[in-house]
């Protein structure tokens, strides 16, 4: 069964702005998928629809065969592109909060990642640097044993040295039954980890293919192909 399936998925903001237009997708378990497209192409909208933060204007979206709701939120681990943790909370308190609400949250994994990233859990979230805040949010999301991880720009704000660790964290923390969808502009950094790639252009699905297929068919890397497709 597909972990994520969309049929004719459309999302419009008001009457004029169509963020996502008739997108039909089928994503299987056990894959790492890159969701790529220029700014305003509809990547975040697609991820938010899957996370249950938006409702579609038309079409349908299911996760693990279920309509979006509390049941899908229990199996989806979503990292937004903005700060979602209340700034006044301490890191340990946030971890405790996640443990309380998500049955699949692994406390030990969270502590282990904090330790490896050298983050002091007794600090208040707002006192941390922007990069460290992003790392804490990623730790929270990747400490869950979810079926689907939705990561919206997970490496955008961190330094290149931390990027490798974060990507390794993503790869090593998801299991064979789950899938990871990563939305990013930094394709070259994650290209080698991607099984499949989705290109979205002006809200429409432009391409859904394996990374290997792109390299074989077009004779170039995914990053180079992205630059060619979306060049201004």
């Amino acid at each position: 069964m597909a972990i994520l399936e969309t049929v004719g998925l459309t999302k419009a903001y008001g009457k004029k702005k169509i963020a996502l237009d008739d997108v039909s997708l089928n994503i299987e378990s056990g894959k790492i998928i890159g969701l790529c497209g220029p700014n305003g192409s509809g990547k975040t909208t697609l991820i938010k629809l899957a996370a249950g933060l938006l409702t579609p204007t038309a079409g349908s979206i299911t996760i693990d065969g279920m309509n979006i709701g509390p049941d899908t939120k229990a199996v989806v681990s979503y990292l937004p592109d903005k700060t979602f943790v209340p700034e006044y909370m301490k890191v340990f308190a946030i971890i405790d909060f996640f443990r309380e609400f998500y049955a699949d949250f692994d406390m030990n994994a969270a502590y282990e990642m904090l330790k490896r990233l050298d983050i002091d859990g007794s600090e208040t979230f707002k006192t941390l640097s922007k990069g460290t805040q992003e790392k804490v949010q990623l730790v929270l999301i990747m400490s869950r044993k979810a079926k689907l991880y939705l990561l919206d720009e997970p490496i955008g704000g961190v330094d290149p040295a931390a990027r490798d660790y974060i990507l390794n964290t993503i790869i090593s923390n998801y299991n064979a039954d789950s899938s990871v969808i990563i939305s990013t502009h930094l394709i070259s950094d994650i290209e080698n980890t991607l099984d499949e790639v989705i290109f979205i252009k002006y809200g429409k699905l432009f391409l859904h293919s394996t990374s290997d297929e792109i390299r074989e068919t077009h004779g170039m890397s995914v990053d180079a192909y992205f630059r060619e497709v979306f060049k201004c």
């Binding site: 938006l54 049941d71 939120k73 937004p80 700034e87 909370m89 909060f97």
Partner: protein, 248 residues
């Protein structure tokens, strides 16, 4: 779920409430100690003033903080986290409303305590009991008791209704994408104006009513309207968050 949500709110939001309640108790005591040497009339007037102001700050501060946080959870900074939780929204809404309702009730208790501490004369509790006695005396007659209970129920309903109003405002904002804050503000202004108009009409009807029985019927109708509007607010909020959610 109720326990989890209330536990989370309690753990993360207890401090500002504790500060408000704490100051509400400490300031009258300090003021009591500081005004010991003043003329008796002046002393009593000042203490009464501090007690009244302190009580007002406790109730208004708690209520305002509750409304701000409720709005933030539905349409503000913490709405992302709240919307990501694997819980049924009506449970979440009920838990949050209950939590803030309890804090508001606590604020009434602390306001009363603040007032009592402010006007005590010699020992901390003797006059406080006298103050409470005054209230008890005033409701000791059958009519007084009935009016007191009716007023209390109406006030509590008013508080819950106000929470519903803020929730509905936040929910209304979700229907308007990037203009959600403007939509929320317009909704709240519109509902407030409707409420003012309703109050003017209602008070006019009460004033021109010919008998006590008519007045009772009018108050009954008013209570039914308040209940219906409150239920409507919460239903609307639940509908938006389950069918039309739009967290930007």
């Amino acid at each position: 779920m109720l326990r989890k949500v209330i536990k989370y709110d309690l753990k993360t939001r207890w401090l500002p409430f504790a500060l408000i309640f704490g100051f509400g108790v400490i300031i009258p005591i300090l003021f009591y100690a500081m005004t010991g040497n003043l003329d008796e009339d002046l002393r009593f007037t000042l203490r009464l003033l501090v007690g009244s102001l302190g009580s007002m700050v406790i109730v208004v501060g708690t209520f305002a903080l509750s409304l701000l946080w409720l709005d933030s959870d539905l349409n503000g900074k913490t709405s992302y986290l709240i919307s990501m939780l694997p819980v049924k929204f009506n449970n979440l809404l009920f838990s949050k409303t209950l939590f803030f309702f309890i804090t508001t009730l606590l604020s009434f208790f602390f306001a009363l305590l603040c007032m009592s501490l402010s006007i005590m004369n010699f020992t901390p509790f003797s006059e406080a009991y006298n103050f409470l006695e005054l209230i008890i005396q005033s409701i000791s007659s059958e009519a007084g008791y009935f009016i007191a209970v009716a007023l209390m129920i109406r006030s509590l309903l008013g508080i819950v209704s106000f929470y519903g109003f803020v929730c509905a405002g936040g929910a209304f904002g979700h229907l308007f994408g990037t203009k959600r804050k403007v939509a929320e503000a317009l909704f709240e202004i519109a509902v407030f104006l409707i409420y003012v108009l309703y109050s003017i009409i209602f008070n006019g009807l009460v004033e021109f009513s010919s008998s006590t029985a008519t007045e009772i019927v009018l108050y009954g109708v008013d209570t039914v309207v308040a209940i219906a509007v409150t239920v409507g607010f919460f239903h609307f909020t639940n509908w938006v968050f389950t069918k039309k959610i739009n967290v930007l």
